[in-house]
Amino acid sequence: MLNVDTTTHFGDFTLDISIQAEREILVLFGPSGAGKSLTLELIAGLHRPDSGTISFADKLFSDTEKNYWLNPHQREIGYLVQDGALFPHMTVTDNIAFGSKGKTNEDRHSRVEELLRFFKLSDICNRMPKSLSGGQRQRVALARAIAPNPSLLLLDEPFSALDEATRDVLRDEISRLQKEIGLTVLLVTHDLSEAISLGGTIAVLDEGRILQSAKHDEIYLRPVSKRVASLTGNPNVFPGIVTRETFQGLEVDALGQRLVVTQQGIAPGTRVRVCVRPESVFLVHKHRKMTQRSNNTINGTILREVARGSIHQLELLVNSVHRLRVDLPAHVYQVMDVSNIREWSVSLKPTDIHLITDDY
């Protein structure tokens, strides 16, 4: 449906983007300065790409080879910019009515009424933007963006200015809207939990390039590079080398010892990065013998710990050289009496170890 394949230079910054999206919510996730907003602006037609094509459904937006360019006002896109950008000289109703379509005035009027009801704005429809709260503004901005009935919706940090409760409500509204109308939604965020909670495909953007594009659990558990792992909150990436192929999988030299991994298809001798999510690491009392074989038991000492409410973040020195982060649920931390014991064993399940091969 949405097809973006372009390269554009903005001074020193190069945006080299390739995106495909069906009728779904595609999340553009990345740190600030990655080029997320610029990507939306390119699709909306606020910048001209240097090369490549942008199209949506059967409508061509831009094709540099054919020297074709569709003006932004002819693209029929719903575009929600950061902080809303409501027209300050118009009431809530007039803001929403600005782009609303309909054959007759009555059609347009009823469309605006419908949106006011849908977004629960009927009570404040005559107010000016200046007198609205952050959440109200964001709802008006969203209502205004979908008033012209676009089939492509571009949302730039739609929840950034909102408190958690309003955020959840608005997120559900967007999901509902997407399903009801069959919209293609491209949503920009720098917040990982927000990206995951929307439940669709995530494209990880960094320094103007898409690093990985996949379902959220795939991105989370099987990052394609150290950078993706780090952007998704996983600092546990270690160099290693595949030593042997077995029936169960592979054996890898990493973290100062031999690890057993279920991943397959990597030739012995290949240099890899070993990747384990902090919440997948098990903490085991040192004196207890592991009954299961091949559970990759490693000795470690707690260096640092940070309480983060529902979880405790521990930093362990394992095999005297490597720093491994372990996220422990608060109740487990209590039950295991972690605060009084410094020396531990950790166990890495072979299925939880992910090997990155092509990141050198």
Binding site: A44, H73, A85, R144
Partner: protein, 261 residues
């Protein structure tokens, strides 16, 4: 420092500025006990020329100055900064020099005027010349203010309007123009005040021909020797207009705020 030592010079300056205005108001109102002064042919003619030329100049300034100010504000024309500086020059240029340079460009012997003269068009010493002189000195004031007004409009608002399907023209009329209207109005008031008072450039470039190029300021100068009361009548009219324009500036110009969503 005692506040007295500050207040005395300040008070003297205020007196100095207020005294002539009071003088004009008092003498003017005495003169206007004879209302027929306002309807004497020379006064009416000067009024007519001023109204005609100023309104023409303002229309030209709005029609050409608004697009220019917009392009300058959006930095979308080549050599913008240079144009910006050159355009401000007439504000600081002595009006007589402005008149002379207009004469050298559009007069019968001027660069452009010579060619126009060959096809039978003469500009110097016509009512049109008065309009040109007024545009030359007044346009920069409008452009400066309008540019600042356009710059204060968040470009994201325009971009959002475009994505909502509004054409560039509709975006300008519905978003940019209403949001910068106070600046445009203030700029227009300043330009009109400057055009109404235009004297030096008009005298040099258009002369002082009653009924053709004799505007109200030129009328005052002409009448000073023969008929002081008529001169006073014109001066009082100009004072009244100035007060109205100042009120306009107070309303739109001085309490200007940047617009943000």
């Amino acid at each position: 420092m005692k506040s007295g030592s500050l207040r005395i010079p300040a008070f003297l300056l205020v007196c100095f500025i207020v005294a002539p205005l009071i003088g004009l108001a008092v003498r003017g109102s005495q003169a206007l006990r004879d209302p027929s002064l306002l309807t004497s042919p020379i006064v009416l003619e000067a009024l007519r020329i001023s109204a005609l030329t100023c309104s023409s100049a303002m229309i030209v300034i709005i029609v050409t100055g608004t697009p220019l100010a917009y392009l300058l504000a959006r930095r979308s024309i080549p050599m913008g900064p240079i144009i910006n500086t050159i355009i401000d020059l007439p504000i600081v240029l002595p009006p007589v020099v402005a008149g002379l340079s207009l004469l050298l460009a559009f007069g019968r012997i001027g660069l452009i005027g010579r060619n126009l003269d060959m096809v039978g068009i003469q500009i110097g010493f016509t009512t049109f010349a008065v309009v040109l002189a007024q545009i030359f000195v007044a346009a920069p004031l409008y452009i400066r203010s309008a540019r600042a007004g356009f710059e204060s409009v968040d470009t994201r608002l325009e971009q959002v309007a475009l994505t909502l399907g509004a054409s560039p023209l509709r975006t300008f009329m519905r978003i940019t123009l209403p949001l910068s209207a106070p600046s445009l109005t203030a700029g227009l008031a300043l330009a009109l005040a400057r055009a109404l008072g235009e004297f030096g450039a008009t005298l040099m470039f258009a002369g002082n021909l009653p009924g053709i190029t004799q505007t109200m300021p030129l009328g005052i100068m002409t009448l000073m020797e023969s008929d002081l009361n008529s001169a006073l009548a014109i001066a009082v009219i100009l004072l009244a207009i100035s007060c109205a324009l100042l009120g306009c500036l107070r309303l739109f110009g001085l309490k200007r705020k940047p617009f943000h969503a």
